[in-house]
């Protein structure tokens, strides 16, 4: 039998006036931007019940501190029929004295072909998303640039075939609103 677990919190955030109050709004501002970076400052201000100047100030602060690192469009590249391949590469590396994983991970990350890089738990250490125009180009990057690096023990390359979801966005949603136009 499934054991029932009841969530141990109410569904609304910290009460007005408590010390966490500011943080609740900070998080919410970022949540809005993370789901739609083009949302107008005026609309954000209304949604959060804050003056526009305050919204502007906070966003500027996030940008300055580097918490917001940029704004990008989420593309469905399959639809563009580009001459482009993406590979996911598992890399095993030897941590270095003093630098640990960071030195070598930093060195790998600086190649423009590497679009994303993560340190992982499990059977390998780094997970890379690498882009190139052709399969050969990516293969050449791996064999000539990545694998020979000092500290890289092995690589395992997987090519992506189709994108279903990226950055939390479905690429092929069934978007029809099934609801009746007016209901009680």
């Amino acid at each position: 039998m499934r054991s029932a677990r009841i969530p141990t919190r109410r569904f609304w955030p910290a009460p007005v006036g408590c010390t966490a109050h500011n943080n609740v709004f900070m998080d919410e501002l970022l949540k809005i931007l993370a789901s739609n970076a083009l949302e107008s400052r005026e609309a954000i201000a209304r949604m959060l019940d804050l003056p526009v100047t305050e919204v502007n100030r906070r966003i500027a602060e996030y940008e300055k501190s580097g918490i917001i690192r940029g704004y990008q469009a989420i593309l469905n590249e399959d639809q563009l029929d580009l001459e482009k391949v993406t590979a996911v590469i598992e890399v095993r590396i030897t941590p270095q004295r003093e630098g640990g994983f960071d030195t070598i991970a930093g060195r790998i990350s600086r190649f423009p072909e590497v679009r994303s890089a993560y340190l992982m738990s499990g059977t390998y250490d780094l997970l890379l998303f690498v882009e190139g125009r052709t399969l050969h180009e990516v293969a050449a990057f791996v064999s000539e640039r990545l694998a020979p690096l000092e500290g890289v023990l092995s690589t395992s390359t997987h090519f992506m075939l189709k994108t279903y979801k990226r950055l939390g966005v479905l690429m092929h949603p069934d978007s029809a609103d099934e609801r009746l136009p007016v209901s009680p």
Partner: protein
């Protein structure tokens, strides 16, 4: 067809005499038009959380396609008992004090039919959900509307109730957070009403379907107040907070004797709620997640946006504190609520339901549901502003 067969005369009088719902009339007009932005939809725009839908499919595969106990799966009733205790502060025995129903609508119907004798008076507050008056009449009760006002933020007060109570009053129906006004009751307001109920020895049906959707503080439930649990039928369901309207799943909690009486009707008319919907509800309740809190956060942002936009265009609106409706006044333009809504629809293609659909005292108001995307809300507010500017 025989000319002498007049079916109209053969309908039951108490059914025949109930007018068509105002919402249906409006729906008929809207459904002939294209590119309408609808603020008229009384259900969440969010999809049912995926894990709930996925579990429903899994349940079908595993064969949850049979009748269940009349009361509903015991496992679900146990989960409901824990949820109600935690969220609403009242203890109900899953064996005989909880009944799983086909939406809150069925539960309301069962409760009224189980309690009312012909001629019993039922107090309910207007503006309100469209079905209360009709459901009371179907149960041969006498509906007694208590009108709430914009000036009081559409809160129900003891004085309003005292003015309408008679020796024949048997029952009070409460619905806070409220559809269509977005009003909520605070604990003090609720305690005043509880005192009124005790003084006149009434029973209560409290429809708290929007309980999770409050934006300025937690929802106090009537059943958490002293002396209320034993005279109250508490109604709740999964449609609003979990965006599960089409699953049609609600439940009633109450003293065993009342639940037993409701069960009597339920077992003969409905037998049980849909098995797969019950499984889905169990998943919604028992899998920890942020389903509800994330939707609440989004509704709050929209509430803030819409309330501000309405104010900016000069439509006075008591601050909506719960559910997902704003109920602004459009009275100052000299149009009836119906004419305002119709012209807004025809001239700007924005659908919002005239307040009169929710009771006569909704005249001069418009129900704007913000259960639609921010993009739609922005465009709708822009169009409304343009429309109001022309009046």
């Amino acid at each position: 067809m025989s000319a002498s067969l007049c079916l109209h005369d053969r309908l039951a009088r108490h059914v025949r005499d109930i007018p068509r719902s105002g919402i249906r009339d409006f729906f008929d007009i809207v459904s002939t038009m294209r590119d309408v932005i609808s603020l008229g939809i009384g259900e969440p725009d969010f999809d049912t959380p995926w894990h709930v839908r996925e579990f429903a499919m899994f349940s079908l595969e595993r064969g949850a396609t049979h009748y269940t106990s009349n009361l509903g799966y015991l496992e679900l009733r146990k989960a409901l008992s824990r949820y109600v205790r935690h969220q609403f502060g009242a203890e109900y025995n899953p064996d005989n004090e909880i009944l799983v129903t086909v939406g809150v609508s069925e539960a309301l119907d069962l409760a009224l039919r189980a309690l009312l004798n012909p001629g019993d008076e039922v107090l309910f507050h207007e503006p309100c959900y469209v079905s209360y008056r009709a459901t009371i009449l179907f149960a041969h009760g006498v509906p007694v509307a208590v009108e709430t006002r914009a000036a009081d933020d559409f809160r129900l007060t003891r004085a309003m109730l005292e003015a309408k109570v008679t020796p024949r009053t048997k029952l009070l129906i409460l619905n806070f957070p409220n559809n269509p006004t977005g009003a909520v009751l605070d604990r003090q307001g609720l305690e005043d009403i509880a005192a009124f109920v005790r003084k006149h020895d009434l029973l209560v049906i409290t429809d708290e379907i929007y309980a999770e959707l409050t934006y300025d503080g937690p929802h106090p439930s009537l059943v958490s107040l002293p002396g209320m649990r034993e005279r109250t039928i508490f109604l709740h369901g999964f449609s609003k907070a979990w965006a599960m309207t089409g699953f049609r799943l609600g439940y009633a909690c109450g003293p065993a004797e009342l639940i037993e009486a409701m069960m009597k009707i339920h077992q003969y008319t409905m037998l049980c709620a849909s098995s797969v919907a019950q499984k889905a509800a169990l998943e919604a309740l028992t899998r920890p997640g942020n389903d509800v809190s994330e939707m609440v956060a989004e509704y709050r942002r929209r509430r803030n946006f819409v309330a501000q936009a309405l104010e900016d265009m000069g439509l006075a609106c008591p601050k909506p504190r719960g559910a997902f409706y704003a109920f602004p006044s459009v009275a100052r333009f000299g149009l009836s609520a119906h004419d305002f809504a119709l012209r807004l629809l025809q001239e700007e293609k924005v659908a919002a339901v005239p307040g009169t659909a929710f009771g006569a005292c909704g005249e001069g108001h418009l129900r704007c549901a913000y259960a639609t995307s921010m993009d739609n809300l922005k465009e709708a507010m822009l169009r409304m502003r343009r429309f109001v500017g022309r009046l």
